[in-house]
C-alpha cells in the first residue's frame, strides 16, 4: 500500500498504524538479541548472559502483548484471523513457552533454538500484509479467540518439544534431561492440540452444522494429533525414549507445520481465510 495517506482522517490512522508497529520491531529486536545471547552463552560462560537473554525474551513478550492489545482495540475484534496475525500470536506463545522451559531446565541450546524459531515467525510475518481487514461472517464468533489461543499454545509447546528432540539427535550429554523436557512439553502440547481441535469442532458445528467435515485443515490437525498420540503411546508401550522418540517428535512437528502452513498454501478448504 502506498505511503501516500494524506486525507485528514487517513493521516491520523496512518500515524497510529506506524506507531503501534514499533512494538513489532521492538519484539523482533528482542528475540534477535535473546537468540544471540543464548548462542554466545554456548561458547562463553558468563553470569550476565542468561539474565540478558531472559530479559530480552521478556521484553519481546511484553511488546508482542502490547502489539496484539492495540491491534485488538483498533480493529475492534481479536487480531487472530489471518496468517500475519496468527504468526504474531505464535511468536508470543513460543516466547512464553521458552521462558518457562529456560527458567526450569536452563538448557541454552534449546532456549536459543526456540528463540530463533520465534524470530523466524516474526520475520516471516514482516513480509505479510499487515492491514486490518474486516472479518468474514463465519469468523465472527467468540470461538475464534479460544480456538486460536488453544491451538497456538499447543503449537508453541510442540515447537519447544521439537527443539529439545532435535537437540537429542545431535547431542551426547544431558540426553535424559532433554528427553524429560520433550516428553513433558509434548504432553502439554498434546492437551492443547486436543483443546484446539475440540474448540474448532464445536465452532464448526455452530457455524455450519457439522463438527467434523474432513476438510484438509481438520484432517491434518487430526494426523498431527495421531502422530503425537503414537509418540505418547510408544514411549509407554515399547519403551521408546531419547533418540527413537525424538524422531517421532520431529515427524509430529513437520505434521504440525503442514497443518499450519502447508494446508493454507497447498490445499484448499474451509480454513482458507488469508
Amino acid at each position: 500500500m502506498s505511503a501516500l495517506l494524506w486525507g485528514h482522517h487517513e493521516s491520523n490512522k496512518g500515524l497510529g498504524d506506524k506507531m503501534y508497529s514499533i512494538y513489532l520491531n521492538v519484539a523482533f529486536a528482542a528475540y534477535f538479541l535473546a537468540t544471540v545471547f543464548y548462542f554466545i552463552e554456548l561458547f562463553f560462560r558468563n553470569r550476565l548472559l542468561p539474565v540478558l537473554a531472559r530479559l530480552s525474551i521478556l521484553c519481546g513478550i511484553i511488546s508482542l502483548t502490547a502489539y496484539i492489545a492495540i491491534r485488538w482495540q483498533i480493529a475492534g475484534r481479536p487480531p487472530l484471523s489471518n496468517m500475519f496475525e496468527s504468526l504474531v500470536v505464535f511468536a508470543l506463545t513460543i516466547g512464553l513457552a521458552l521462558l518457562f522451559i529456560d527458567l526450569r531446565y536452563k538448557i541454552k541450546i534449546v532456549s536459543g533454538l526456540a528463540a530463533l524459531l520465534g524470530l523466524l515467525a516474526l520475520g516471516y510475518a514482516s513480509f505479510l500484509d499487515k492491514e486490518i481487514s474486516p472479518l468474514l461472517p463465519a469468523l465472527k464468533s467468540n470461538w475464534l479467540t479460544i480456538h486460536v489461543l488453544t491451538c497456538f499454545i499447543g503449537y508453541a509447546a510442540l515447537t519447544v518439544g521439537f527443539v529439545s528432540s532435535l537437540v537429542i539427535l545431535f547431542k551426547k550429554d544431558e540426553i535424559v534431561k532433554l528427553d524429560t523436557i520433550s516428553h513433558r512439553v509434548i504432553a502439554f502440547g498434546f492437551l492443547f492440540l486436543t483443546l484446539g481441535i475440540i474448540t474448532g469442532a464445536v465452532w464448526a458445528n455452530s457455524a455450519w452444522g457439522t463438527y467434523w467435515s474432513w476438510d484438509p485443515k481438520e484432517t491434518w490437525s487430526l494426523i498431527t494429533w495421531f502422530v503425537y498420540a503414537i509418540y505418547l503411546h510408544i514411549r509407554f508401550a515399547k519403551g521408546w525414549k531419547e533418540k527413537k522418540a525424538a524422531w517421532l517428535a520431529v515427524i509430529g512437528f513437520l505434521a504440525m507445520l503442514f497443518t499450519y502452513f502447508g494446508v493454507n498454501y497447498l490445499l484448499s478448504g474451509l480454513h482458507s481465510y488469508n
Binding site: 494524506w6 461472517p137 492437551l191 483443546l195 457455524a207 484432517t219
Partner: protein
C-alpha cells in the same frame, strides 16, 4: 481357558496393534487430503482423465472418509480400543485419567455413529414472503412438521480498507507542487487517497477542497424515466460511488465515479481527476428474518445468522446460501444430529481425562513415570 488368555485376544488388545491402526488411519486420512473429495465427476475427469476417474471411483478415493476400507479401519480401531480397556485398565485412581481418555474416544466415535445412522442433513430454500415446510435431503423431500417463513433477508458488505477514491491532478497544476510529488502517471499526479466510507469528509491533501462519499451502488444503473440512480442487483457488476466535493468557497458539486469505467467522468472539478479504486467487498453479514409457524399459528420469530443457527424441534437451521443477484431468497442448511450430545460429552471427557493423566496423577505419588 478364558478368552482373555488366547493369542487372538492378546493381539487384539495390544498397544502395538493400536499404534499400527492409528498409523494406517493417519495415512489413509492423508491420502484423502491429496485428492479433492466429493467433487463433481467432471472435475475428476478433467484432472485425472476418465480412466483415472474410474480407478479413483472404484477404489473409493473420491470419498475416502466414507469408503468401506476407511470405516473398516475405524471399526478395527474401536474394537482394539475396547479390548485394551477391558484388559488393561482398572478403576484405580492413578490410572483413572488414562481410562477416561480412552473411554472418551469411544464415546466420540459412538456419537459419530449415531449421527451417521439416525441423523438427517439437508437444504431448504425459502423465497422472501413465502414459507416452506420441508427440506431436501439426498434428493428426497423431508417434511418438518412445521413451517418457516422468510420475512426478510438482509445482506451487508464490509468496506475493504484497500478500497480508495484516488484523486489525481494535472502535473502542470500548482496543487501538485503544494502537495509534493510522488506517484507518477503519464501526465497526472496522484495527490490523495480518500476512504470510501460513507459520510466521512476528507480534505484533498492541502488544497482546501473537501470530498465525501454519499452513496455506494454495487450495480449502478440509471432509471431512464426518472433519471434516478439505482442498483440493478446486489452483485458488484458496476460498482459506483456518488461523491460530493466542496470548494474553498463552500460551493458543492455531486457526481458519480465508476470503478469499471474510469473514463466516464462528467466534469473536471478544480483540476482534479477521480478514480475509484475498487478491490471487491467482503460479505459482512447474512441475516434471515424468519418466523416459525405451526398449524397456521406463529410460534416464534428470530434472525438466523452465520454462527447463530435456529434450533427448533430437534432440527438446527444454519444460514448457508443466498440469492446473490436480488436477495430474494435464503438457503438454510438443515441438520438433525442426535449424536452431537454424545460427541460433546466425549470431548469433555477427553479434556478431563488428559488433564487428570498429565497433571493430576503425576502428583499422586505412586504413578508410573
Amino acid at each position: 481357558m478364558s478368552i482373555k488368555q488366547g493369542n487372538v485376544w492378546r493381539f487384539l488388545s495390544s498397544i502395538k496393534l493400536a499404534i499400527w491402526l492409528i498409523s494406517v488411519i493417519a495415512a489413509l486420512s492423508l491420502i484423502g487430503t491429496l485428492i479433492p473429495q466429493n467433487q463433481e465427476p467432471a472435475f475428476y475427469v478433467e484432472k485425472y482423465g476418465s480412466s483415472g476417474y474410474n480407478a479413483l471411483l472404484t477404489a473409493g478415493l473420491t470419498d475416502v472418509y466414507a469408503s468401506w476400507w476407511f470405516i473398516l479401519f475405524l471399526t478395527l480401531f474401536s474394537l482394539n480400543l475396547t479390548a485394551c480397556l477391558l484388559n488393561r485398565f482398572s478403576l484405580k485412581s492413578r490410572s483413572l485419567g488414562t481410562l477416561i481418555c480412552h473411554v472418551s474416544i469411544l464415546v466420540i466415535l459412538a456419537g459419530a455413529l449415531i449421527g451417521m445412522l439416525f441423523g438427517q442433513k439437508g437444504y431448504m430454500r425459502i423465497e422472501k414472503g413465502q414459507e416452506a415446510s420441508f427440506f431436501i435431503s439426498q434428493n428426497k423431500q423431508v417434511n418438518l412438521g412445521f413451517s418457516i417463513r422468510l420475512n426478510d433477508f438482509l445482506y451487508s458488505e464490509s468496506l475493504n480498507p484497500k478500497e480508495k477514491l484516488l484523486v489525481y491532478c494535472d502535473k502542470k497544476d500548482d496543487c501538485c507542487k503544494k502537495a509534493g510529488l510522488s506517484q507518477t502517471d503519464a501526465d497526472r499526479e496522484l495527490i490523495s487517497e480518500i476512504s470510501t466510507e460513507i459520510g466521512v469528509e476528507s480534505e484533498i491533501s492541502d488544497t482546501g477542497y473537501k470530498v465525501r462519499v454519499l452513496r455506494y451502488l454495487p450495480d449502478f444503473t440509471m432509471d431512464t424515466s426518472t433519471k434516478e440512480a439505482t442498483s440493478r442487483s446486489a452483485k458488484a457488476n458496476n460498482p459506483a460511488i456518488e461523491v460530493e466535493i466542496k470548494g474553498k468557497d463552500g460551493a458543492k458539486e455531486v457526481f458519480w465515479v465508476f470503478a469499471r469505467f474510469p473514463d466516464v467522468h462528467q466534469k473536471k472539478i478544480g483540476n482534479f481527476d477521480f478514480v475509484y479504486y475498487w478491490v471487491g467487498r467482503q460479505p459482512d453479514d447474512f441475516v434471515s428474518k424468519i418466523t416459525v409457524t405451526k398449524g397456521g399459528e406463529d410460534v416464534m420469530s428470530r434472525d438466523i445468522r452465520v454462527n447463530y443457527p435456529l434450533q427448533f424441534a430437534g432440527y438446527s437451521f444454519f444460514q448457508s446460501g443466498y440469492d446473490a443477484e436480488h436477495l430474494n431468497w435464503t438457503g438454510l442448511r438443515v441438520v438433525k444430529d442426535p449424536g452431537v450430545g454424545l460427541v460433546y460429552s466425549g470431548f469433555g471427557l477427553l479434556i478431563l481425562g488428559l488433564c487428570a493423566r498429565f497433571y493430576v496423577s503425576p502428583f499422586m505419588g505412586t504413578s508410573r513415570k
